[in-house]
Amino acid sequence: MSRFLSSSIGRKVVMALTGFFLITFLIVHLGINLSLFWGPEAFNEASEFMATNGVIQVMQYVLAAGFIMHIILGVKLELQNRSSRGVKYAVNKPSENSSFSSRNMIVTGIIVLLFLILHLKDFFVELKFFDKGGFSTDYDLVTALFKNPVYTAIYVIAFILLGIHLSHGFQSAFQSTGANYNKYKRCLKNTGIAFSILIAVGFSAIALYFSFIN
């Protein structure tokens, strides 16, 4: 086990498992957010459930640990990888052989992290510790935030970048855990891209709807 975690492959597997875990979290989170379309009652009820259910309360800490592990390992891998080349090439054509998303995981990851901090401050902390930031219900707080166009713009950009992160990350996690076979390769790749679009469009649509239409 210790040999596993100290090896390059072992750390990649942990990276992939935390990635899968974060993907599951995203699906649940999107589900909750979509209830906004069903009006204040549905969303407040879902929000209430998330705030009081025992399993969810425990999962919050697991989720935080998953994020921290994913981030620490991601940064560590990146630093090691950057130092393994030495002298740089005078001419290099990485776009001939690999995708933009696969080469910029750390960039998309760090921007998502910055957004996450802002997001936690505006929603999570307000709802949990500051009595809904002065609003009477969770629904009011959330929809009011989207009335700020700057906030909505940041929100949409962050989710597009998360989509780019996932368009490589989804299939990459299968490869890292050894679950990729040539037979399923195309299928996994396409599912990953479809999922990334779902996440980017799903979250953005909610923000844009409450910003411009509702």
Partner: protein, 248 residues
């Protein structure tokens, strides 16, 4: 055809290197890339200058000795060929061609375009073999092997150890190479005997040599002259998971 060549010159391992410009003229389009370097070296000899060092041996794409990062790609712009199988017809007349050594901290430069790839040898020595007792020849069909497994093993065994995968990878990862060397034995009954130690030792040696971590960009597969598939890396990951996590 005429070309401007910008070539990495470096006196020895510790010297500071730089790109130097050379011209070659009247090159036939069917001249190979290495022959063009031979022509240039002949000119340098005649001018009493230090010739450009580059690795080569078989010049037919089987030994894995030739290297070179040509215009930003390992083994040049053509896919599925080594540098020795590259011909000047793949370039445009008058084109400027950048020629650099394969770069990775684990492949230190010896001189000019020659790099020391003995890190690969040490990985191979740590487990890339099967142990046999010698004796009378065994009947060839004594151990039956499914066609698909034999084909997978053969595909993996095509790796010539050139190091293009490392040179290309943004992380200088050696995973494609190691995965080919593990995979060529992984599904053969003869290879199963030492499978656990093989994958542990080879991955440990790979990490110890300072190669980067694989992030599945897939650049190696595209630039590999032998078309070694990424599926081998997934197989290596499975073999390593099995070896480290499943109790014996």
């Amino acid at each position: 055809m005429d070309f401007t060549l910008k070539i990495w010159r470096q006196e020895d391992a510790n010297a500071q290197g730089s790109m130097k410009e050379y011209k070659v003229t009247d090159i036939d389009s069917d001249t190979s890339f290495l022959e063009t370097l031979d022509v240039l070296n002949q000119q340098l000899v005649e001018k009493n200058e230090d010739v450009i060092s580059f690795d080569n041996d078989c010049r037919e794409g089987v030994c894995g000795t030739c290297s070179l990062y040509i215009n930003g790609e390992a083994h040049g712009p053509k896919k599925l060929v080594t540098t020795c199988q590259l011909y000047m017809r793949s370039f445009k007349d008058g084109q400027t061609i950048y020629i650099e050594p394969f770069r990775a901290k684990s492949f230190p430069i010896v001189k000019d375009l020659v790099v020391d790839r003995s890190a690969f040898d040490r990985i191979q020595q740590s487990g890339g073999y099967t142990s046999f007792d010698t004796g009378g020849a065994v009947d060839a069909n004594a151990i039956l092997i499914p066609k698909e497994d034999a084909a997978d093993a053969f595909d993996a065994a095509e790796c010539i150890g050139c190091g293009a995968c490392v040179a290309t990878c943004k992380n200088s990862s050696a995973m494609l190479y190691v995965s080919a060397k593990v995979s060529q034995f992984a599904y053969l009954p003869q290879g199963r005997v030492e499978a656990t130690e093989r994958v542990m030792n080879m991955v440990n040696q790979m990490d110890a040599e300072g190669f980067g971590n694989c992030t599945n960009t897939g650049a190696c597969e595209v630039e590999c002259p032998k078309g070694i598939s990424l599926e081998n890396i997934a197989r290596l990951n499975r073999e390593f998971l099995k070896a480290t996590l499943v109790p014996k």
